[in-house]
Structure formats: C-alpha cells, structure tokens
Symmetry: C2
Subunit: 231 residues, 2 copies
C-alpha cells in the first residue's frame, strides 16, 4: 500500500498564509492545473458531499489538541501542529506560554508536532481512506487520479478501523454516541503524524489504544488474555 516513489509533481506556487504562524504554504494541486491554487484541493468534493468530514480532515491533519492555552489569541485548545516545532521562547512570542501548562500536557503537545508537508500528506491520505469507505460517494475523476497517484488504486481495499480492523462506513462520520463522534483520526504510533502512520478508527478503539503504538497495544492484549484466561 505504501507508494515508495511518489512521482507526483505539484504546482508548488506559494500560497498566502492566513494563519498566525508564518510558514511558507504552497499549492498541492498538480503542475499545470486549472483553477486557483490550493493546498487542500483534493478535499473539494468531500466538502460538497459532507462538509463536516472535510473540516474534520483539515482539523485533525493540521491542529493539535489537548492544551487549554490561557491566551485569547490561541483559541480554545487547538493550534497548528507545525507551531509545536518552535521553541518555548518562540511560542511565547505568540502569547503561548508552554511552561504554564502541566508537564503532561506539554509532552502530549510536543508529541503532536508535525511539519506542514506531513500535515498535507496526512490530509491527502485521510481523503484516500474516506473514498475507500463503504457508502462513500465516488470521487470525481480528477480527484480519483490525484489520490491514486499518491496512494494506489481506490476501491481495492475497504477502509477499516485502524485498531480493531472492522470496516468503517462513511455514514459513521455523522453518527455520535453520547455527543462524541464515532470515527476519529488514529495513529499507529501516537507520537508520529505522517501519511504512513494515520487512519481512521472507532472512538472507543482509539481511546483504548491510548498512548501505545498499535504493536504495543496488540502485544499488551495478548499478554492480558494469556494471564486472565489461564485463571
């Protein structure tokens, strides 16, 4: 599934960065594309089909969670993942006081750091996973070509929960239990945010995995079952 040699040539034209952290953003449409430049162009059709899913992908791909910054500027609790590549003193320049957070929250935030490029690739990969879901709308040809060049054919495998392996349904995005969305973005290694490491999972599975890698989680399950079933 991993495409070793990504030969996709992007437009690369610089985009205006409307965010607060002045990193260079650029166009991730293909070279010679028509229409305006964009870094999330491959989400255009998902946005039409189910706006919430597109917003979720952008947010999970690019934003941290877990910190209640005591800064009005910071918004409720999310900032760009690439901001967490900055030093504590640089962040203070943005009115974000890392040292005011508990050590636990600081460590979790640093775990969520990622480059702009990795965030874009995560969004691309999540879009690909969406189109592989049961009940997902078919992508328009240009987006299909784009995502297949990046990650391989669509429709050959069904997107399953990354953790329990049960198939996920597109309509699960709209479902919530006790006010919490049923599908979350998950990481095989919770301390790495890149296209090879992300997928979707049931909320309950994602919570169960916790801070462990998937390999660690499965090994833990095996050791638990050996212990409790022996009794």
């Amino acid at each position: 599934m991993d495409v070793e040699n990504r030969l996709v040539l992007y437009c690369e034209k610089p985009l205006r960065n409307k965010g607060r952290f002045p990193i260079p953003k650029r166009c991730f449409k293909l070279q010679g594309h028509s229409g305006s430049c964009a870094d999330f162009g491959y989400l255009a059709h998902i946005d039409e089909a189910a706006a919430g899913v597109g917003r979720k992908i952008r947010r999970d791909a690019t934003k941290t969670t877990g910190a209640s910054w005591r800064s009005k500027d910071a918004g409720p609790n999310r900032i760009d993942r690439w901001a967490m590549l900055l030093s504590d003193s640089d962040l203070l320049g943005y009115d974000l006081d890392v040292e005011a957070l508990s050590p636990g929250v600081q460590a979790k935030l640093r775990d969520k750091r990622a480059t702009y490029d990795d965030c874009i690739e995560v969004a691309q990969k999540l879009a690909w996973h969406v189109y592989n879901m049961r009940g997902a709308p078919a992508p328009p040809p240009d987006i299909r070509d784009y995502l297949e060049q990046l990650f391989g054919s669509l429709g050959e495998e069904e997107t399953a929960c990354m953790i329990c392996g049960e198939p996920l349904e597109f309509e699960d995005f709209a479902r919530a239990v006790r006010g919490k969305a049923e599908i979350e973005t998950a990481h095989a290694n919770p301390r790495a945010h890149n296209a090879d490491n992300v997928g979707f999972a049931h909320r309950i599975c994602n919570i169960a995995q916790g801070p462990r890698t998937l390999d660690e989680f499965y090994a833990w399950m095996e050791s638990v079952l050996r212990r409790v079933r022996r009794i």
Copy 2:
C-alpha cells in the same frame, strides 16, 4: 472469594449525616464495639499509613464523577452516588439541574448511582484489596478480623489489576504519570457499583476498558487479535 453468608453484625446506631442529601447513615463497626461510632472505621489504619489512599477509597466508593454541575453548591463535579437515585425533579430541589447536562453525561451519572449500603460495602472491599497488595502495611488485628469476616482471609491472594491481571503494589498509589494517579478504582461492570464488582486497576487499563464489562472487553480483544493477526 465471595462470602455467601455475611454473618457480620453491625452496631447500626444512626450517625449524624453531615452531607447535603438526608439519607440515614449508621455505624458499620461491630456490635459491642468500643470507641465512637463510624461508617468508615475500617479505614482508620489506612488513613494513618497513607492518608491519600483512605481519602481515595471514601471518594471513589461514595462519589460520582463526570458532571460539571453549574451549581456552586455541587462543588466541582462530584456528588454522593445515592443522590443519583433521586428523580430529576428531586435533584432540582438541591439546585442540581440534570436536564441542563448533555444526554451523555446524564446517562453516565445515572450509571454511577448506588445505595449508601453498597457504597459502604465497596469501601470495605477496597480496604480489603489494599491489605492484599504487595508492600501494603499489615492491618491491626481488629481491622484484620473485621475485613476477613467480610471477604475472607487476607494474604492468600495478591491484589492484581482487575483488568490486566498484573500485581499492583501499594506504593503505586503514590505514583502518577503526567499528573494522573496510576491506580484507579475499577468495575467489572461499569454500570454496577457494589462490593462484588469493584477492584483496583491501572489507569491505562481502566481507560482501555471504557464503558464495556470486563467480559465484553476480553471478548473484544480476542476478536480484534483474530482479525488483525490473520492479515
């Protein structure tokens, strides 16, 4: 381990209820005891050895969690478990507006309801589990006799994490990872709070179990491993 016929005869003398919910409380020391009456007398020695552990047992045995009541009276987020046996309209008389909480939080709170008697028995059982832990102090003879009458001999089995089965150490009560205590009170069935259903568990195990019963959780693990290991 389950003692079918609990022949323990309690003092039963009424206690003054200093709490906000006027239920009848009573003395759970043995008939003919010396000293003052109490419902948590069996925690006296744990309180001396490690005050935090005694407080934790009282709190987990008797208090709900999970609701941010918008009432000053309610305190941060805990109220007596027996209060959750009252109707919504009765609770409104205590300035607790259940309907203002999300349906999810309401359901969770109702899951935590328990009678005063069940709460006391949970506290007794947790005290018994503490004394069965590696590294726990030895109880004084009167408390040993009391707990052994209720739940069987101390020292015959080691208290293990109710979920993963690994032995727990008394000193783990004082340990915290990222600001969170390592040992939590756990329930084989998260919707039942009584002595036969409670124990201690690692925080990470308790989170992983989530809203499932232990049986459901182990069955889920088996199905996941069958699925992911087959690939």
